[in-house]
């Protein structure tokens, strides 16, 4: 019997420190058994349980895109026991990955639509996956205009800085990078909070969906802006975080009413969330 709790063994291929505060590192994994990569077929927006023998497991959004083959990537914030341990692991070390878990951004519904992607802080991982997925030459024509508002407290806390710069240079994606504040005289992007920049750039709600991920306070102040721009709740999509153990809807802790965030989520429309108990 297939055991959904058993992680696939992976080798850490590289560890990159993403941010100046050194709290975020990106781990690139390669499956020890190549056939496991096929079994781990995922879609942008899903997450996985990362497993460290002797430490435990943690749910982390998949930062790589399904269009990137041969590896999977996760950006991990140092917060607890497993993540702190992982931050001291190095290339060559063996750990495990279980999944993919949960649902994904509704790529079938999003076809033919404009996308407004709004991210804040380190909640940019599955958004990175989504952008890379959409910009893939095979997929780009399926989607309309892409606007990205991505903010961090200061430039040193932005993830994937080289990729952000590369996307800035493209003409098929409108990047609106912003920081809360900076002393860098050469900073050439926006300064201001994500809600304010969203309002200023005012992406059209016409035939558009918004995907928003970030700290609760950012979401709280951005939602009214989106409403003002004309986005109805069923076209605002978010992804939730929860404490999880099983990742497959069995262990019982991550529910919002009838829905398990790990299995029925983590992606919900605002409309769906408005009908569920707000225990998140």
């Amino acid at each position: 019997m297939n055991n959904p709790y058993l992680p696939y063994p992976v080798r850490i291929d590289s560890v990159i420190t993403e941010t100046e505060d050194r709290n975020l590192k990106t781990f690139k994994f390669i499956f020890l058994n190549p056939e496991d990569e096929e079994k781990f077929k995922y879609t942008a927006g899903q997450f996985a349980m990362l497993s460290v023998a002797g430490q435990g497991e943690i749910p982390i959004g998949i930062a790589s895109s399904p269009t990137e083959k041969g590896f999977i990537k996760f950006t991990v914030n140092k917060v607890g026991r497993v993540t702190t341990f992982m931050h001291n692991m190095k290339a060559g070390d063996i750990m495990g990955v279980r999944g993919p878990c949960g649902n994904w951004y509704p790529w079938d519904i999003l076809e033919g639509k404009n996308l407004v992607i709004i991210g804040g802080g380190f909640a940019f991982t599955t958004l990175r996956s989504s952008i890379v997925y959409m910009l893939n030459p095979e997929n780009r024509s399926k989607y309309g205009k892409i606007d990205v508002v991505y903010g961090a407290r200061h430039p040193g806390l932005l993830l994937y800085r080289e990729e952000l710069a590369a996307w800035e240079a493209r003409d098929d994606i409108n990047m609106h990078i912003t920081v809360d504040g900076t002393t860098d005289p050469n900073w050439k992007y926006n300064v201001g909070f994500v809600p304010a920049i969203t309002k200023q750039k005012a992406p059209s709600a016409e035939n558009s969906y918004a995907i928003i991920c970030g700290p609760p306070v950012m979401i709280k102040f951005t939602l009214p802006v989106l409403t003002e721009l004309g986005f109805p709740p069923e076209r605002i999509i978010s992804s939730l975080e929860m404490r999880m153990k099983c990742g497959i809807g069995i262990c019982g802790r991550c529910n919002l009413g009838t829905e398990y965030v790990c299995k029925d989520g983590p992606v919900f429309t605002l409309e769906k969330l408005s009908k569920l108990p707000n225990e998140y």
Partner: protein, 350 residues
Amino acid sequence: MSEMFIAKGDFPAIIERLMSRYRVYAPVKNGRHYEFAALKEAGAADLGFKNTRMSPKAIFYPQAERMFEYSLAKDDPEVNIVKETPKDFSPQVVLGIRPCDAKAFRLDDANFCSDKFKDPWWAQRRESTTLIGFACNSPSSTCFCTSVNTGPFDTTGLDAMLVDTGDGYALQVITEKGKNVLGILELKPAPAQVAGKVEELKASAEKSVATAFDPPAIAQQGTLDIFNAPIWDEIHFACLNCGTCTFMCPTCWCFDIQDEVQEGTKGDRLRLWDSCMFSLFTFHGSGHNPRSQKVQRVRQRFMHKLKYYQDKYGTGTACVGCGRCVQACPVNIDIRQVGRLMGSGCSCPA
């Protein structure tokens, strides 16, 4: 459904025959209480019980269980690779389980084995286990099985059922699995008058169970209406968050997964019963906690049992009315009263 009969004097010998082929669990008296235990001798089985203190869920889902094991030794070529811990899934029989507890496992099945994921340990133990139930002739005052879609003679979750008719046990075979297990016993058919006696006992047992609350009335109300109702302030007030209700309950299945390391070089990944009554249950690594308050946790337990499960599966409540939580709660929180409040649609405590 065929009926057979076992004279009480023959019962220990029957258990012994079962034990020669299967691991047999039965109620055993342990101090003031009864618990299900794997029998070492047939005589230890004791059907003189109302119900066991703990539900028999641990037979399928132990309180602490090794899921996986691994080596942490740096020179081990398989260092850090998590592997399945070998387990024994040989055939076993649970003898004397009450109909409510057997029904509870059906409700738990929906959680452990969905279309998409099957919990391998739960599924294999369920598969290898035959449930020979024991009808309740005299339910307790805390029982309310008939309010929640089961009953003292409900055979839904059972493979066979014993009914105490005074001088012996009438035995109904319900499933193929039950037939196969009981086939080895070469039992005699029940005498003609037994069927009538069983019907009489069933009617009187069902009549003796009081109506506690009305699950459809809860199903009909809006989730957020009950969730936001002021009833929870009153209900949660005395709760100590001790978790006793969740540990005894046959339909509480929540678990934690933890790693445990021995001597630095070997470790296990364990599955351990957990409880929605504990604040750590939902505590994020960031420090955020969506159910940090007691009132939220108490509400979660009752909403899950009586509302969310009904809405999710459409097969009634995740409660079988065994009454264990009513009996054991140190502050007398009574799920029957909570069910009435949840179904009343009235914001004032009744």
